[in-house]
């Protein structure tokens, strides 16, 4: 899992959560916030309107009230008696005038004192007299500072101008401490001068509690407060009585500059909606303070609901996410994990997933299980096929393909030098063919099985054993510790195989030829190595079998030489390097040459004359022998045709035919063609076959020979006596001639057995109607013996070695008889 991918990828659960949140939270938020904002706006507007109406109403109330008080003042100031009383100030000691005036004015003032909420009516003259009606009779105890201030203020007023404001009660004795004082200057006009002069200040002290009673009944709304301030900014009304007469904050006062208005400001740490209206005449202001928090508080119900809805939405999202995580994501992760395990071939991927429920996810899991089952089944089949491809069905051992792969690997390792001292051991059972032929294939298979078991038991743990095919086995030996170990292993194998066992009631002992090739980095291919081991095995086999041979440098050189030889031989025909040599066959009856055996010679530019034994076996291993044989047939036909044309019309020529020719389907045709081309009659040609050539594939060979024989060709059994020498097949064959092997002939004088066999062969041959020819006659004694037992013809060095066609032609006309021959031979 790449890290970068992980960082930016969003899990399914997260996606699901985000989606749900977008689907649930965003609409709730939008609805909630808009509802909140709209309702807050409405509430604020309503509150503003209500506050405005409220302050307007209270302004009207105050206006009315103050006007009422003012009308009292107006009435009093227009009372002539009072003006007269004020016109003349009584003398300081004139108690009568003072008391009488006081009484007189008192009676008048009292008539106006019935106004509700009135505390007192006071007249302060400039002369210092004080006339008073009110809640106390005690006029001696007054606040002079208040009086003086009020006097000053009153004197500053114009005629018929009235001032009103909150003040301390000028009369100390009164119960009412704070009053609304309404004041006007009283003037008198002198009769004489008709000049008007200020005479006194008329004060109406109005009970502030009376106003308080009124205003405290006004409900400005939850949390809101109503405030009345006078022209000086002192508080006339505040719900908290302690606040009354206190000066309103100047900065707030500064904000109330218009006749009416609404604003928002922060007072005492609380944001307030301030609505106010001014009493134009009096300079008073009616103010409402509404904390904006109360406005929002009412709207905040919506906020709370939205919040709860959000919380509910989150809870639902959380639960949904958890459920999804459990029912969808977790199974999906398990699936992913399984796929990852499958990809990395981690064991356990094939364990079926547990399935919950019946939904799509369960369906997916179920199908995954089915899928993994089929994968498993397919895997098993593939494994089987792979096993079959790389293993031998009979023994269960790895086959050539697999072994070659292992070998390639070993070579590769040897090339890097990681594994020293490895070897390949090539094993071939001796005489297995006989078992197969004599006891049948089933027995052969059984033998191979036993061999596999024995080999398996003999090899070490790390070694690789394989059956290459037929009775060939190979072992890859790894990590050989010391040079001698390979011999020990080979010995052990031989010993193991040598333990006798029973096949179809026949006790059998296995023997094998073993070739060993040490692995080194110089090899390029497994096949090279195998071939060399094969070569060594072949050497062991040709050395008599039941032994092991390690491929060495000499063998290496030999095999290289062999390769070169093979290469040269392939070009021998086209380069006209082959030569036909002829050895005369002499009739013992008259000493005359009755024919020649043609023998191939290879005249190579580098090698000189190469003996047949040096290249014929090589040619027989390949297909070259056919070409050589056909070339020889053609050459012999040409020559015998010449001889027969030049005075020897009965002369025959014998041509060797190797076993491989019988694998050629066109053999009979080819021979016929050659005969027709050269114009040689079939009876002039003898085809010589060895016993082993016939035995290789008897049925087919007999069939072919029969055809040839019917064509008129003569068939000769070559090297008779060395192999099976079965009379049965001799009888079955369309043979005309039997040739006694030179090994018998050479021993015929010294060895009585050989003499017996030779004489018997001659006898049987005659009985069967065959012409008997003895090969390898080298002295007169042998000739005499053969003559004695009536052998038909002979050939050998006693008469002539194989010679080129010119010399053979020269021999024609010779007649060998007894001593002459001997003499000739000696010269």
């Amino acid at each position: 899992m790449p890290k970068t991918l992980m960082r930016f990828s969003i899990s399914l659960t997260q996606k699901f959560i985000i989606f749900l949140l977008l689907a649930s939270v965003i609409p709730v938020l939008i609805v909630g916030v808009s509802a909140y904002e709209v309702s807050r706006g409405i509430i604020q507007d309503e509150s503003k309107r209500y506050a405005t109406e409220l302050v307007e109403q209270q302004r009207e109330y105050l206006d009315l009230h103050l006007e009422q008080i003012e009308s009292v003042i107006t009435n009093i100031s227009s009372v002539e008696a009072i003006i007269q009383a004020l016109a003349s100030e009584p003398a300081p000691n004139d108690n009568f005038t003072r008391l009488a005036t006081q009484a007189r004015i008192g009676y008048i003032l009292d008539g106006y004192a019935n106004l509700s909420g009135l505390v007192s009516l006071d007249i302060f003259t400039l002369g210092g007299s004080h006339y008073h009606v009110g809640d106390t009779l005690n006029v001696s105890n007054i606040r002079t500072d208040v009086r003086d201030r009020l006097m000053l203020r009153t004197r500053a007023l114009g005629p018929a101008e009235t001032w009103a404001g909150v003040e301390q009660n000028v009369n100390k004795a009164s119960n009412t401490n704070q009053v609304v004082t309404v004041a006007r200057l009283l003037s008198v006009t002198d009769r004489g001068t008709t000049q008007t002069r200020p005479a006194a200040a008329l004060l109406v002290n109005y009970d502030i509690g009376y106003l308080y009673k009124h205003f405290s009944r006004i409900d400005p709304g939850v949390g809101a407060s109503l405030i009345v301030v006078d022209a000086d900014g002192r508080i006339v009304f505040h719900p908290d009585t302690q606040m009354i007469a206190a000066p309103l904050n100047s900065s707030i006062l500064g904000m109330l500059k218009d006749a009416r208005g609404t604003l928002i400001t922060t007072i005492n740490g609380q944001e307030m909606l301030v609505s106010y209206v001014r009493l134009n005449k009096w300079g008073w202001s009616v103010i409402t303070l509404i904390p904006t928090s109360t406005l929002t508080a009412r709207a905040s119900t919506i906020g709370s609901v939205v919040f709860l809805a959000l919380l509910a939405a989150f809870t639902i999202v959380g639960i949904a996410a958890t459920i999804t995580s459990h029912t969808v994501v977790t199974p999906l992760r398990h699936l992913t994990q399984r796929f990852q395990m499958y990809q990395h071939n981690t064991p356990g991927w094939q364990v079926p997933l547990t399935i919950h429920g019946r939904d799509e996810i369960a369906e997916l899991s179920r199908w995954f299980n089915l899928f993994s089952e089929s994968l498993l089944a397919r895997g098993r089949i593939e494994e089987q096929l792979r096993h079959q491809a790389t293993h031998d069905a009979l023994t269960g051992l790895p086959n050539r393909t697999d072994f070659s792969e292992q070998l390639e690997l070993a070579i590769a390792r040897a090339q890097i030098g990681t594994i020293p001292n490895s070897a390949v051991l090539f094993l071939d059972l001796d005489r297995f063919k006989i078992v197969n032929d004599s006891l049948g294939h089933a027995a052969g298979d059984y033998v191979l099985t036993v061999t596999a078991q024995r080999l398996r038991a003999s090899v070490r743990g790390g070694d690789k054993l394989a059956r290459l095919g037929g009775d060939e086995f190979a072992i890859l030996l790894r990590g050989l510790s010391k040079p001698g170990e390979i011999h020990q292993i080979a010995e052990r194998i031989k010993q193991e195989l040598a333990v006798p066992f029973d096949v179809l009631g026949v006790e059998m002992t296995l023997r094998a030829s073993i070739g060993i090739a040490m692995i080194s980095g110089t090899y390029a291919h497994a096949e090279d190595l195998l071939r060399e081991a094969d070569t060594a095995m072949y050497r062991a086999k040709t050395s008599g079998g039941t032994r092991h041979v390690i491929f060495d440098d000499a063998m290496h050189q030999q095999s290289i030489e062999l390769l070169r030889l093979e290469s040269d031989l392939r070009h021998a025909i086209e380069r006209h390097e082959l030569r036909a040599y002829y050895q005369p066959i002499i009739s013992l009856a008259d000493g005359m040459i009755i024919g020649f055996e043609s023998l191939v010679r290879w005249q190579n530019s580098e090698r000189g004359i190469v003996a047949p034994c040096d290249f014929i076996p090589l040619a027989e291993e390949t297909d070259m022998i056919q070409q050589i044989d056909m070339w020889m047939l053609r050459a012999a036909c040409v020559d015998v045709h010449n001889w027969r044309q030049t005075g020897y019309p009965d002369l025959t020529v014998a041509v060797n035919l190797s076993a491989r020719n019988f694998q050629n389907n066109r053999l009979v045709e080819q021979i016929r063609e050659i005969l027709m081309e050269t114009g040689v009659p079939p009876q002039a040609v003898h085809l010589e076959l060895t016993e082993s050539a016939i035995m290789a594939d008897m049925e087919r060979t007999v069939e072919t020979l029969t055809q040839l024989s019917e064509m008129g060709l003569h068939i000769a059994i070559d090297d008779f006596g060395t192999n099976y020498s079965s009379l049965a097949y001799l009888k079955r064959l369309p043979a005309d001639i039997v040739k006694i092997d030179r090994s018998f002939v050479s021993d015929v004088i010294e060895n009585t057995d050989a003499a017996a066999i030779t004489s018997a062969i001659i006898a049987i041959g005659h009985i069967l109607g065959l012409t008997v020819v003895a090969e390898g006659v080298e002295n007169c004694d042998q000739q005499a013996f053969l003559t004695k037992y009536a052998c038909d013809a002979v050939q050998g060095h006693l008469f002539s070695p194989p010679v080129p066609v010119e010399q053979a032609t020269a021999l024609l006309g010779h007649r060998w008889a007894g001593s002459t021959v001997t003499v000739v031979a000696l010269t």
Partner: protein
């Protein structure tokens, strides 16, 4: 690989959890809007600390209802009552009719007090009979009544059921007798005398006339030529004196039932240049005391107005507390004269 894959899955789980937590946090912050808190300005400028309102147990309100605005006597009575107010922790409401004659106004005041439902009314009635019904109504409304200065008519009060009203005053007959006696004891030649009385329907006015008449009668040289009312008023006394002296030019002594009337009388005498007429008053106002001192008056009676006011309020407070009080409390009087 398996181990890695586990690790991967767990990592996913934690990041999922982190996502949920983050979103919840987001919701919290979105839901709970923060409020900006700037201190702003205080409502009031000076350091007026809105201390918790001392709204203790509502103190009983006791009303003192007096006869006139203009008589310093009543100012003195209020002074005493204020002292009691300060000492007893009650709330004193002072109510006064404009003039001694404003009986209807007094009735209106009491009716207003009934409506206001004061705890007690200390009343100096201008008239001994007219106020009885309204005071009865007040008593029935649960208001304690204390009578000061001028006595309510006991018979009428009893008739109307106005009982249990303590009376605080002075012995007006006695006071008037002593003042008149002091006036008459220097008179050795036959002399005409005048009596200026108060409101005739007021008991104290009647009592004072009785006392003065009795004292004058004891001196054979004195002949009372006229008993006339000036309704306790200073300017009316001036006018009445003027009229009576016109009718009786040889008058040598005048008893005024209160100092206000005496002050009016001596004002006229001074204006008329009559220095031969002796004047006595009642109430011992500061102005009267001054007149006595410089010889314009011979005597006045100190009836301790402040004491009456004090006692009246105290009695009312005690009655509210359930204390039994004497039906009649007489305050000692003192004769104020020039000679020691």
């Amino acid at each position: 690989m398996a181990a890695h894959s586990d690790l991967y899955v767990r990592r996913r789980s934690t990041s999922t959890l982190a996502t949920i937590v983050f979103l919840l946090f987001l919701a919290m912050t979105t839901g709970g809007c923060s409020q900006g808190t700037s201190p702003g300005v205080p409502l009031v400028d000076s350091g007026v600390t809105s201390a918790p309102a001392t709204s203790a147990v509502q103190s009983p309100r006791i009303a003192l209802v007096m006869k006139t605005l203009t008589n310093p006597f009543f100012a003195e009575m209020e002074r005493g009552a204020r002292q009691a107010e300060a000492e007893l922790g009650i709330i004193l409401i002072v109510k006064t009719a404009a003039q001694e004659t404003s009986i209807d106004q007094q009735i209106a005041i009491i009716e207003r007090l009934i409506v206001d439902h004061v705890a007690a009314i200390v009343v100096a009635p201008g008239d001994s009979t007219s106020l009885v019904p309204v005071l009865r109504r007040a008593q029935q409304a649960g208001i304690v009544i204390v009578n000061v200065d001028n006595r309510l008519d006991p018979t009428l009060a009893h008739e109307l059921g106005l009982v249990g009203v303590p009376f605080i005053s002075v012995d007006n007959v006695d006071g008037a007798y002593h003042a008149a006696s002091y006036l008459s004891h220097t008179i050795t030649v036959p002399t005409e005398a005048l009596i200026l009385e108060g409101i005739p329907t007021a008991q104290n006015a009647i009592d004072r006339t009785t006392g003065a008449t009795k004292a004058f009668a004891e001196n054979p040289k004195i002949a009372v030529v006229a008993v006339e009312t000036a309704h306790w008023k200073i300017d009316e006394a001036f006018d009445v004196t003027k009229a009576l002296l016109k009718a009786h030019p040889r008058v040598g002594a005048i008893f005024c039932a209160n100092d206000m009337m005496a002050l009016g009388t001596i004002q006229y005498l001074a204006e008329a240049g009559r220095k031969d007429i002796l004047v006595a008053g009642f109430d011992a106002l500061p102005e009267a005391r001054a007149a006595v001192k410089d010889g314009r008056m011979v005597a006045t009676v100190d009836q301790q107005a402040a004491r009456q006011g004090y006692l009246g309020v105290q009695y009312a407070a005690q009655m509210l507390a359930g204390t039994k009080l004497p039906a009649e409390t007489m305050i000692p009087i003192a004769l104020v004269t020039a000679a020691p």
